[in-house]
């Protein structure tokens, strides 16, 4: 395998820039800003990250329609992968700014460096069709996120959450790796398109089915699908708000993209069927069951939550179920539109959580009581984000769900997946209840105190921008859909 290293460096320039930025932030923080207050340090490092990531995103934009396939699918570039990397970088920038709203650590530089490394891992994940590369990139992301979860060293919850996340994640990684090795054993390749051809010859091989189950268990952890979801509520609750935001956004987007690629590019021959009364062994059947379980469990468990972060965690589990519907439907634009618009809303919600917790120290849903009097801006954006999560048109969340449901309904013949769509619609109704409970606190319940609750200017601006993005993507979805095609 001959690799032209100069060309490789050129194509990987954005990733290199991200890693370099991460290290630069770390170095500058330790060398120059050590004696400043954590607030100043987080602002400065956030600016460094914004500049570096912004430059990387610009570079990706300039690369435009470059396509490349290096070293047997280890690095695959396409317009779509460029676009997704830009999206990931934007979410990383928002996450960096959320750090300025929270005071969980003095070691800001380290946190920002880990954030950069996780982002780089996601970018590699998006741009590969090689199983080994998928695994390495996945571990780079996961290890960074474990550490970022544990970063609030004063809080036992943070440590507990990280340990849980780590133990589940380690086991899941083992399953994934085992599944990959079985694929290699059957198919004789770790390159997805090549693997697809040889798997097609072994369709129905029980070993392939075992491998599918193992891989889906591993990814089910990554995307927090039932029954591999148990880490999520604790991690969302215990982790520092920026980490939770990044787990829910960037990590979700990358995870779903890779899972989709793996199943649709690598295993079309082992699809099977999850259609009503026509179950056939294969990944479709497993994914359909995971989707059903996630939607039902996530939505029902969310009803009982009193903590806002746990509510968002269970809503994330439910949303993983809806996204799996798009996966079943085999529509990549629908899947990506769904996860990206979901990420917009959920990052925004964690931004609100960060500001409110930082100012009041109260993370319960009741802590939002009378938010409209204390901060009209936060109340407004919270409304947009939550209604989008509930799937109320014309917000992006509605169209995301609609595209996913239509894709699933089109799959198979004679509305075979209609049962899954019907279940998803029913569960959406359930979800409206708990989102409205939160909005009731914001708009209906009077505040105990009328002290204004103000976040930083940049974070306020970012939250407003996210809310506008949610509205615009919902009213005029075509540009975003084109961007993700």
């Amino acid at each position: 395998m001959n690799v032209d290293h100069a060309r490789l460096l050129g194509l990987l320039a954005p990733e290199c820039l991200v890693v370099f930025t991460a290290l630069a932030a770390l170095f500058a923080d330790l060398r120059f800003w050590k004696h400043r207050t954590p607030g100043q340090r987080s602002h400065r490092t956030a600016i460094v990250l914004t500049l570096g990531f912004g430059a990387a995103a610009t570079l990706l934009g300039l690369m435009g329609n470059t396509t490349a396939n290096l070293a047997g699918g280890t690095l695959v570039l396409s317009p779509l992968s460029q676009h997704l990397k830009i999206v990931l970088l934007l979410f990383a920038i928002v996450t960096a700014w959320l750090c300025t709203e929270t005071r969980f650590t003095r070691h800001v530089g380290e946190f920002m460096a880990l954030l950069g490394l996780a982002t780089a891992g996601m970018m590699f994940l998006v741009g590969t069709e090689n199983l080994l590369m998928v695994f390495v990139a996945l571990e780079l992301v996961s290890l960074s996120l474990y550490a970022m979860t544990a970063f609030d060293k004063r809080s036992p919850r943070s440590a507990e959450a990280a340990l849980r996340y780590f133990l589940f994640g380690g086991t899941a990684a083992a399953f994934t790796l085992f599944g990959f090795s079985l694929f290699y054993g059957v198919g004789g390749s770790i390159h997805l398109p090549t693997l697809a051809v040889s798997i097609a010859r072994h369709a129905g091989d029980p070993l392939v089915l075992v491998a599918i189950v193992f891989v889906l268990a591993g990814f089910g952890f990554k995307i927090a699908a039932v029954p591999f979801h148990a880490w999520a509520p604790d991690a969302y609750e215990g982790a520092p708000a920026p980490t939770a935001a990044f787990i829910a956004s960037g990590s979700k987007i990358a995870g779903f993209l890779v899972l989709g690629k793996l199943l649709q590019v690598g295993l079309p021959a082992a699809a099977g069927s999850g259609a009503w009364k026509a179950f056939a062994p294969g990944w479709m059947a497993v994914v359909a069951l995971l989707a059903a379980a996630s939607m039902v469990f996530g939505n029902l468990a969310a009803l009982a939550q009193t903590n806002l972060r746990r509510l968002l965690a269970y809503s994330a589990i439910a949303h993983a179920g809806y996204a799996l519907l798009a996966l079943v439907g085999g529509s990549q634009p629908a899947l990506l539109y769904f996860v990206v618009t979901y990420a917009l809303a959920v990052v925004g919600m964690f931004g609100v959580v960060a500001v409110v917790e930082n100012r009041t120290g109260n993370g319960s849903i009741a802590g939002l009581a009378g938010l409209r009097e204390r901060s009209p801006l936060l109340a407004g954006v919270t409304t947009v984000f939550l209604l989008s999560l509930a799937g109320i048109p014309p917000l992006a969340g509605f169209l995301g769900k609609f595209l996913a449901f239509v894709a699933a309904a089109k799959q198979g013949t004679a509305l075979g997946y209609g049962w899954l769509v019907a279940l998803a619609l029913g569960m959406s109704c359930v979800s409206l209840y708990y989102y409205l409970q939160v909005l009731k606190q914001v708009w209906v319940v009077p505040a105990e105190t009328r002290d204004p609750l103000r976040g930083g200017t940049v974070v306020g601006g970012l939250l407003a921008a996210l809310a506008v993005a949610v509205v615009v993507a919902g009213c005029m979805p075509e540009p975003l859909l084109d961007f993700l095609r």
Binding site: P333, L387, I392, P393, P394, F398, L399, F402, L403, F405, V406, A409, K410, L415, G418, V421, A422, L425, G426, S428, C429, L432, Y433, L436, K440, W443, V444, P477, E478, L481
Partner: protein, 497 residues
């Protein structure tokens, strides 16, 4: 032209937040201006058009799905746009006394109105659905924030019922989209598509019930009385006056035109449910102690006539149903205006026995007269719009299912009974000597002045019901030709029309 009703309402809702929070008069004037403008645009845009189908805007919206931004109107939509305009203006006049969070109140109110206009003018199914859902959230907040007793319960119940209904509609919408080959959501094209009979047999009840939940179809009507009772006056007027019509309109415009064979298979069943609603609503209204619940259940009963008219699938029955939508929208607005604004806001009770002691007939002659007029219209006395509408529905029903028509006739008699009972108890039953315990007697002697905005709003609605009652041709000339449009091809093929 008519599309501006939508834009104006949403623009005014957004502009509310440019007004200072304590500038209540400014908020009121802006809301009234927007509603009047909407009414004027509705009148001018409809004038001289008759029943013909006219496209206002057709733009590509989501090419991936084939969805268009298609706003248009036919005679039926124009009648309902006019109703929305009237109800909106009257509702604002009746909520002139909202002092708590005034600008938010009117912003939500106008957003709701904008969504309603949007539903009546959308001829793309996805767009129609989007507007339909936009109307849910403002309803929740209007009731939860400005409502009366048990408002949070009622608001949540209403939101969940509406959302469950729209989930059923959405399921049918997705199924129809996929079944018809995923070309788009143009209602005219979907109505032309021959859906297989077996598909229609399950898709029709799904979509029909989904919409009809909002129209108060028995036994899914229970959100309506609690919602109406807890809502602030303007919201009850809109809920009963306009929002329930959204459901009936959806039944006619979507479920019936798309799935005529499914309709043929199910019409007797839903006709029976409609009559059950008429009779059950009337019986329950007869035994209520709460004034607002009487009116709330009367809405369920009168909406039963709309659904019964739809199920006749004859020109006279459908025409009657649409006319009844208009008529009930006006009359229910009037009734809720009197109950909620004129009586409850001043007397702070809605208990019929309590109100007996207040001698309202003497203290509030304007309210009494208005309510009597509304009651006469509601009972179906000739000369008011309710008579023409219910008469046409009954004639249509008599031709199709005579037994049900008889039962519906019983419903009319019961309607007269509960309406007269309420009129008598509230306005004319007071002890002439005042009540024995003095306080209520003292209370019962002060005259209570009905304010000017209320008088204007009430007169507007009374004028509308009398005008249509005396000259129903005004609206029927719009409604009847609409059934000749290609949208109703499927229904015509099935006979009847």
């Amino acid at each position: 032209m008519l599309a501006w009703t939508i834009y104006l309402s949403f623009a005014a809702a957004a502009a509310m937040f440019l007004i200072k929070p304590d500038n209540r008069q400014g908020a009121r004037m802006l809301a009234l201006g927007a509603a009047l403008a909407g009414l004027a645009v509705g009148l001018i845009g409809s004038a001289g058009r008759g029943g013909g189908f006219a496209v206002a805007t057709r733009l590509p919206w989501i090419p991936t799905l084939g969805a268009q931004f298609l706003l248009a109107s036919d005679g039926i939509s124009r009648v309902l746009v006019l109703l929305t305009g009237l109800a909106a203006v009257a509702g604002i006049l009746f909520s002139w006394n909202v002092e708590h969070r005034t600008r938010e109140f009117f912003a939500l109110y106008l957003a709701l109105i904008g969504g309603v206009y949007g539903v009546f003018l959308s001829f793309d199914l996805l767009l129609l659905f989007v507007f339909y859902e936009i109307a849910i959230v403002p309803k929740y907040f209007l009731i939860a924030i400005w409502g009366s007793a048990r408002r949070e319960y009622a608001a949540m119940k209403l939101a969940l019922y509406s959302f469950a209904g729209s989930a059923m509609v959405l399921a049918g919408l997705i199924a129809a989209h996929v079944e018809s080959g995923s070309h788009g959501f143009d209602l005219a094209e979907l109505a032309r598509y021959p859906f297989p009979a077996s598909f229609q047999h399950w898709a029709f009840p799904l979509v029909f019930v989904g919409f009809a939940i909002l129209a108060g179809l028995w036994p899914f009507h229970t959100w309506a009385p609690t919602g109406h009772a807890a809502a602030p006056t303007a919201a009850s007027m809109l809920l009963a006056g306009v929002v329930m019509k959204l459901g009936a309109y959806g039944c006619l415009r979507v479920a019936m035109t798309l799935f005529p064979e499914g309709l043929a298979a199910w019409r007797h069943f839903f006709g029976a449910l409609a009559v059950a609603g008429i009779v059950h609503g009337a019986l329950v209204a007869l035994s209520q102690r709460d004034f607002k619940f009487v009116v709330g259940y009367s809405s369920v009963s009168h909406m039963g006539f709309v659904l019964l008219g739809l199920m006749t699938v004859s020109t006279i029955g459908l025409g009657g149903a649409v006319l009844q939508m208009f008529s009930h929208g006006i009359i229910a607005g009037l009734l809720f205006g009197v109950v909620g604004r004129m009586v409850y806001d001043r007397e702070h009770t809605r208990d019929l026995d309590e109100l007996r002691t207040r001698r309202l007939g003497r203290r509030m002659p304007f309210a009494a007269v208005t309510f009597v007029v509304a009651a006469l219209a509601s009972m179906g006395i000739p000369g008011f719009s309710g008579f023409v509408a219910e008469f046409k529905v009954l004639v249509g029903a008599w031709q199709t299912f005579p037994k049900l028509a008889l039962l519906a006739g019983v419903g009319i008699v019961l309607g007269a009974a509960y309406t007269l009972r309420a009129v008598q108890k509230v306005f004319f039953d007071g002890d002439p000597e005042g009540s024995p315990d003095g306080t209520a007697g003292a209370d019962g002697t002060t005259p209570s002045v009905v304010s000017l905005p209320e008088k204007i709003g009430a007169s507007l609605l009374v004028a509308a019901t009398v005008a249509v009652g005396l000259c129903p041709k005004l609206l029927l000339d719009w409604i009847t030709p609409s059934f000749a449009s290609p949208l109703f091809d499927g229904l015509r093929k099935g006979g009847g029309l």
